[in-house]
Amino acid sequence: MIGRRHHDMGGQPGAKVEPLEHDYADWERRIDAMAVLLWGQKGTRKLFSVDEHRNAIESLPPAAYDSMAYYEKWIVALSQCMVQRGVVTGEELARKMQDVLFMRQHHDMGGRPAGKVEPTEHDYEEWERRVDALSVLLGSRKILTVDERRRAIESLPPDAYDAMSYYERWTAALAQTLIQRGVITVEELARKMNERS
């Protein structure tokens, strides 16, 4: 028998087709939109053709083809096309996927690409010295630990982490740990901040 490719199911025995409509999830819409743009169909720069994309879907191993949702096939095929076209390398893709799978915390930047480090000294502002002193003293009074403060700093959302200066992070972490320890409450802090605004 001439090999039928697995996806080419017309006329084959199959389960009953349930013509159900369903809403698409955001990730599905996003993949659909991305693919159309990468095919160059909206006046965008064409990175690969719709047919390359189809071929990549149809080349999935049968077990993978059957176990994946429709748009999962699309995204796998899309990345396959980009690798084939040399837009990205397989290794780059694998590394980036590892970052997501093996959750690297945002602050844990060792070995990541970054700008040149400029080793300049600078004076600390009065408020920075004060935050530092307070944090260390609260540690020596056993009201909180340096590790709790670090954890609070590292738990800042990535955009906040990047936007804040070093001692701004310390300040945010100090407030967070004092709340966790029950020294102050969220409401008290919010009200006091509101009085000053």
Binding site: F102, M103, R104, Q105, D108, G110, G111, T145, V146, D147, E148, R150, R151, E154, Q180, R181
Partner: protein
Amino acid sequence: MSEARFKPGERVKVLKAYPPGHIRTPHYIRGCVGEVERICGAFPNPEELAQMRDGLPPQPLYRVRFLQKNIWPDYAGSPSDVLEVEIYQHWLEPA
């Protein structure tokens, strides 16, 4: 204090684990194999301290020496360059 399981010169592998919280083992070194350079002492476990617990018994802390070329796939420096990282015992297994 927990007993020190490793001696200087022993080969150890860093756990390839990704728990949440305040973790003192850098992301890039997880899964790498190195050699114990020295035992630095024993300290309350910072991962536990960060969760407002006492971190006891103290965990042995090791300075572990890795070859740079074993850490970075595209490392361009000398093949004998090393990197030392201080790692708590519960992150290490025999290699």
